[in-house]
Symmetry: C2
Subunit: 340 residues, 2 copies
């Protein structure tokens, strides 16, 4: 299993996921602006990975500005935080990670050099925590899976969406480690095809059986009895709904209509239970992501506009359970446990 992001020799090393599944290439970045670009261009993507990338981006910024006087340093860091925050407006991990780093920056009484050391350390801790959280999600989620199950997933909430091990794919990995036979069916996940490219790549890489379908197929496959469980990741859980990659809501509707359990793997860092779904701005991305598949094949006539929302909203009534690092909860239990 490959880590999607690492801190190596004061650089951020990440897999360039836009090249997968054809080419496994790593980016080594030493400028936070490049990290921000990599988040925006989705060289790295997936809520938890984005969080760690944001933290490591800020760590790079501290290295760049550590020799400035503290006031100037703070000014520059504020700038860097804004650049990073503006990359993916729906990803709550981004804000969570920036806030966490910012707490160190703003409360630390010491000089920028010292702050920088602490921030670098914190970003590495966050990466390790992510792996630990995912292993716990795997442990709890694996109990939901039976030997022989076929699990449908949408987008990529696997190892490549996290630092390692994955969220939605963690229960699959853990169940297989426990000796169960599990098969995955991956929605291709248009427009950017993270399911076809990334989920298929990482599962094949780790020798876990996987098949790919068009996003149009999940409903029929459920009707034909070919899917036992659905597990997806999430970018943000509000008090009433799950925000995840566009198309998740349709999968959830099909699961309900066919009596199939629909689970969301959600590290508590994605919980944003103080807000409701009405409060969330859904990111709209370039029309060309739809009209030109992977930037290569034009599928829509010139002059025809495409709408490209990145996320959709799955209301709690369609969610069977939410798997956090602490256990599996119904939406009601989740609110009881985590809502302040």
């Amino acid at each position: 299993m490959l880590p999607s992001i690492e801190w190596v020799d004061n650089k951020v090393k990440m897999i360039d996921q836009t090249l997968l599944p054809h080419e496994l290439k790593f980016l080594e970045l030493d400028d936070y602006r490049d990290v921000a670009k990599a988040i925006k261009n989705m060289n790295i993507r997936g809520a938890p990975a984005i969080g760690v990338a944001a933290a490591m981006g800020l760590a790079l910024a501290t290295l760049e500005f550590k020799d400035l006087p503290k006031e100037k340093f703070l000014e520059k860091m504020e700038e860097a935080a804004n650049v990073i925050r503006s990359t993916r407006p729906t990803a709550s991990n981004l804000f969570w990670a920036v806030d966490r780093i910012w707490k160190i920056i703003s409360t630390c009484p010491d000089n920028p050099l010292m702050i920088s050391e602490l921030v670098v350390e914190e970003s590495k801790i966050m990466a390790q925590e992510d792996v630990n959280v995912n292993k716990s999600i795997g442990k709890h989620g694996a109990e939901l899976l039976k030997d022989g199950d076929t699990v449908l997933t949408h987008c990529n909430a696997g190892s490549l969406a996290t630092v390692q091990y994955g969220t939605a794919l963690a229960p699959v990995r853990a169940a297989i480690e426990n000796g169960k036979k599990i098969q995955v069916i991956a929605d291709e996940t248009r427009p950017r095809l993270q399911g076809a490219r990334l989920t298929a790549f990482e599962l094949q890489y780790d020798k876990i059986p996987v098949k790919v379908i068009s996003d149009t197929s999940s409903g029929l496959l459920m009707k034909l009895g070919m899917i036992d469980k659905v597990i997806v990741g999430t970018d943000r859980v509000t008090s009433d709904a799950v925000f995840n990659k566009i198309g998740t809501y349709l999968v959830a509707l099909a699961a309900r209509d066919n009596g199939i359990p629909f689970y969301v793997a959600a590290p508590t860092s994605t919980l944003s239970l103080e807000e409701s779904s009405d409060d969330v701005v859904i990111e709209q991305r370039d029309s060309k992501e739809v009209s030109h598949v992977l930037g290569k094949v034009q599928i829509v006539p010139d002059g025809v506009e495409c709408l490209n929302y990145a996320f959709d909203i799955t209301p709690f009534n369609l969610v069977t359970g939410i798997i956090t690092e602490d256990g599996v909860f119904s939406p009601e239990e989740l609110l009881k446990k985590y809502k302040k």
Copy 2:
């Protein structure tokens, strides 16, 4: 508006739809085997157009065999009918069209030369009938649309799916002819992208406002209030469900969840009310249609299999109304009117 298929100088002239939206090229075929290939390869597609193509294919076969003695002629025609029937197993219009032509062949007492003339004539009549049927569907369906409506459609059930004018798009065309402002949102319709390529092409060609979305987006757009009605075509209507391009079922689920009317435009030639959905074999197509977008860009790693069912099943409880050339009917009314 372009006719998708015509009988010209004892040849079958059709738009090669696999090249759209980039290139508008016509095929001129004088061998029924090439017509069968064109149906199978989806150079021509869409239930009504397939029916007319099948009839015209048989007409070409009669021209080829018309000088044989009657017994030999019938043998060769049986062969041709089998080749044509085997191209798209879920398309009921195919069988309907072959049966209709076969009635002439088998009941006609005259010589093959005479039969051939009658079959050619019949295939031309069927093309004209298709246009008439579509205009009637348009007239009835237009009454369902209000000035300012945005209509979502899946796949292409437009002019290009018929001889001309379309089924699902006929109400849109008719409403616009009546002076209403109507906008279309087209699902791209993976894997073969008939929505992005064909629906967008033909509507833009006829100056009807259209936007394209990924198949993953319809649910969110409905939730955001951006869609007023759904109209899709169908390949076959059984006593309990609508068979249409894979993905239709998901759209229907989203429409119900958001209280949006879901209509199916169904020429009576697509009605197959004596059978139930369990009787229907769903065509499975090549894995490469999913793994390689339009045969050009590989999106799935080598060695990962893709499942590729061509149609799905939308149960009657999700269908608001079925628009035939005779009027708009609820599923119950449809059964009452048409089921023998």
